[in-house]
Symmetry: D4
Subunit: 185 residues, 8 copies
């Protein structure tokens, strides 16, 4: 097979690394819930080697801090939940099974986090999109229930936080958003 002449890849939506600074977390960009918007991507070309790209992740310390903040928010309202943080690649980074959380909450939290990271939107918004595309929810690994929130850096998703176990998804998502908010402090 003939050798590909690798073209220089220009990721037009990419985030400049220097721009990743503290304080950029937590605010959902206005267009995050628009289904037709191409999500910005926390990936950048490596200027020194055309074969490489960089992707952005939370450190484990940051992910743990966010998960604990979400759990604290739930406990402050006497809710028993599990919290999960999933990175942009879909891999689980942190799980915390809260005291007394129901057995369904563990995988539910992971899937909400996965879904929020994959579509870069809160799962409460994503659940509404099913009106137009009901079979989205058949994609493996997803769960279209309120309780997941994306962690964004300048609008691009770097992780998702999922919470499950409270009596309503709205409560779950409130706690997940508390986890996101903790990263901006």
């Amino acid at each position: 097979m003939k050798k590909l002449s690798l073209r220089t890849r220009v990721l037009t939506g990419a985030v400049a690394a220097a721009a990743l600074s503290a304080g950029t977390f937590g605010a959902m960009s206005a267009n995050a819930t628009e289904p037709a918007a191409a999500p910005a991507v926390a990936v950048q070309a490596d200027t020194a080697n055309k074969n490489l790209q960089q992707s952005t992740h939370l450190t484990i310390d940051a992910a743990t801090e966010a998960a604990q903040a979400a759990l604290d928010a739930a406990e402050a309202e006497n809710q028993r939940v599990t919290v999960a943080v999933v990175d942009r690649n879909g891999n689980t980074v942190v799980t915390l099974r809260g005291d007394g959380a129901g057995p369904q909450s563990y995988e539910s939290a992971e899937r909400k986090a996965f879904t929020a990271a994959a579509w870069n939107a809160p799962t409460s918004e994503l659940a509404k999109r099913l009106a137009q595309a009901p079979n989205l929810k058949d994609i493996p690994g997803t769960l279209f229930l309120a309780g997941g929130a994306p962690v964004q850096v300048k609008g691009a998703p770097v992780a998702g936080i999922g919470v499950a176990g409270a009596p309503s998804g709205d409560l779950d998502e409130k706690f997940a958003q508390a986890g996101v908010a903790a990263l901006g402090k």
Copy 2:
């Protein structure tokens, strides 16, 4: 990483161990079917060691007795079912595949029991909640079909009993409730 100073955890919904006495089983608390109510939790802090908590389970003898009572109730009406008992952590404790029960009944019974224990409500009630939150049923391990009943201690779930195989879910759940009732005798 700095050491966490573990705060004293106060489980406000917890059940005092001394309160777990015979005769408390079987009655569904009035608010069990209210989706927004935070379920009480059969977990208690350990006063002597802040790192530990206790969770409450049926003994295997009690779980077996409940399962057999459910199976007996089904057989008394000439129905062929499988019965499962799942603990609050989602682990199956007892299964009894009744004579002539269909092949779909085994995993169905387990999932009904899991679902009832997870949400602390009969699955017939939970199926109705799908009107508000239809994607609840996509949570792995669940089945939103009548036939599952929670085993409660002072309102908190300690197990779920699931029955499957009868021609209707209502019948299945009647038998599951007979299993719960046997524990109060």
Copy 3:
């Protein structure tokens, strides 16, 4: 089916709840590595209700603290690992995927923790038992590699901590033991 007359269950190996006090963690009992010894069990009969029993778990705060201590120990030696805490029922309670940990480390850590909790012994010891019973390692969910350590309360297992990703299992287990040790402080 005739009703069972439930006999009073006497858990001779059970741990009295009052005895669960701070400072009992971390020391492996001398006979923990003897394969023929019946492990003590952190389960106690409920004196007030013959149908119930209590099981002992780490709080999520304690489990998180232990996991963080294990991760800190690894990072102090510049090792990149994942840490998992699994309860005595085999359910994962906490996972922390350390920065730069290899992709194999996540499930590996969970399985080491599961194995240590199930057999109440460090996995380095359990790996040696394969000389007598090589097929033990075919039991689903297990991994017989050094890196798992049980969390014990007066000799009974209440959890397992698993670490994976360091260049040797001995290093992994050293970090897991650091997690156990943190609970006794």
Copy 4:
């Protein structure tokens, strides 16, 4: 495709139904541990309809009785185990997760029961056969660890009983055999 002229099937190893009487359980036939012996089969042709055959199963009452006898035997020696009964077709009929049994014991008990029913021999014997055919243990669903015992009717397997959780497989198998023995009483 041309119609097959179905030949009359003569199951030379089949057990005459009339011969299935109480008291035939429990004794391992002398050749049960001979690897090359073709197992007798608890299947009989239906004399009235050449398209049908009958297979023999334990009733759920008998299977439950056997499982309870195995659990009782374990508890009498202060061992904490899970017991499973699997029918000749490999389907689980009864599970009893004993108080305090380790998390690995549930699936382990099922697999031991499956293995004993499949090869019509105690799993302690089957484990020895691996010396000649080591890859037998790679067959899905099996576990070649002592602790499984077949339930036979005139030498043919109708079920398997598996026990797991004791400190040695020999103990597990002793309890499984106690379950088999209960059926002959």
Copy 5:
């Protein structure tokens, strides 16, 4: 645990073995599509040993003949399908992947056969029942699409035949019924 005194089990819906004669196949009993009817069961108590019961299966020759008849019926209409026969216990007995059948047809045929055997009704009828109980289709192993037909002996299911791959489920089910009909010849 006290020994159960096993009561004599009377399977009131059971089929007398002597009644299983040629020519009883193929006609759907009138009430087969009534969801509330308790299905008769092809299981009989063993009069000589209270611990045993018999279950009825197709011989492999009969199952193969039925599968081939279904495949022939499809090919006669130039349709490319897979055919599966599943026994009453849910185990697959025969599969035939027809020439040119699509890749989705294999597992689809198995699930249709499983579903028809489990509920003792054609899957075209069962799909209609979802109007009353929509979550039935979440039971693992099932598929509520036309194309499955039960094999009955005096109204009790002994197997299911599933066909998949034709452009409509009605065609698939016509072929499955041709398979059932072949057994009565």
Copy 6:
């Protein structure tokens, strides 16, 4: 069992091998979206040996070229997607996880490709068929979301191309069709 006299199989819908020439790709046949049409099949009898048949596949070079064309089309619109090519037997031949594609896109692309190849129609058309047969989407391995396109040779499917990750399925499918079109050049 009596030997079958294998009948000469006439695949009336089969494609003559000589007819498989360059330039036949890319055009959806007019009836491809008619659910009741029996799809032509890219399988041919082997005239020299009645036991054999031939099936047609893309070469890996062609499949790679198509996948790259689909990825190029997506990148030209600044969309981040994964592309998969699945053959007529349902086996994945090529996957390309585009830079920055979401974690849900990988399995989603494979399933769209599988679905398009299985039913020989674009998944946007297949999603519409759910109005008549809603449970089609429960068949394992499928995904009824726009983004899959069949690769046809004279109307018969030889592969499917699936794209996932763009903000709408219509975009995904546009890119998949670009992959199909590349084969005709």
Copy 7:
């Protein structure tokens, strides 16, 4: 991405379609058991379209005939087995669960057939190769136990036949070879 200029693919090991004639089955080529020999491949380039290739499969009639011959051979020796035929792509084409075959035999037969088709050698030979490459047996879907035989056309594999359930793998493989031999008649 630049368009690949697809080179003309020359499959030097390919089998000319005209050469696929009756009578070529059944004889293992002499070098089939040599681990280092590159297997010939039953794939041929399509001379009229550089993007396509043809692969050779058994017809379902031939595969069924072979499976039945294997089952007949087993029954002639009073052995109870399951037979599976898997094509060169690893997809199961036919399964026949013989009367009285053990529950382990079904998946075991499929895996033996898969393994024989994948490596183009009897599994008895392949098991010997583990002496040099013991971890071959960890490849998913395989089983390195005697009982599988490849179906070859001029030395290239077009299918595998697997038999399981007899007391020894040698017997299983004898029956599998009888299935292969039936194709040459």
Copy 8:
């Protein structure tokens, strides 16, 4: 829970981004096969935001080029293989199922690539390490067979290339190394 004061994380083994330049691929570092060496890690702290880190990946163009080079190398020796590229997080990036590759080769290639990326060493080296730690191979997702090679940037793994299907693992690995080498050109 008290807020963690996130310490500044110093990844002492991290690779400075500026150092990632063309021409650094392909050479195995001398200590790559030393089991006790802590692998360098292609992860760097983000100096501007303590919560973030960057990880390095191949672009899809580079990964595809490497996979094609590996496939070309195999075809040049008339070997039929599947090639997979897996990133450092264990996610598959590219698969190419070569013409005529056996069905076992697809998942085998993925696992070899995963294993090489996880341990940052060729799988031929890793297979030797099993002499010291035989149970390494029980870690899910791994395969300890020659044929996998890591892609390194200054000694840190950024991907793995796996090849499977040739008659020996040494050949497979030679082709995988050809894929690695292509990245340095």
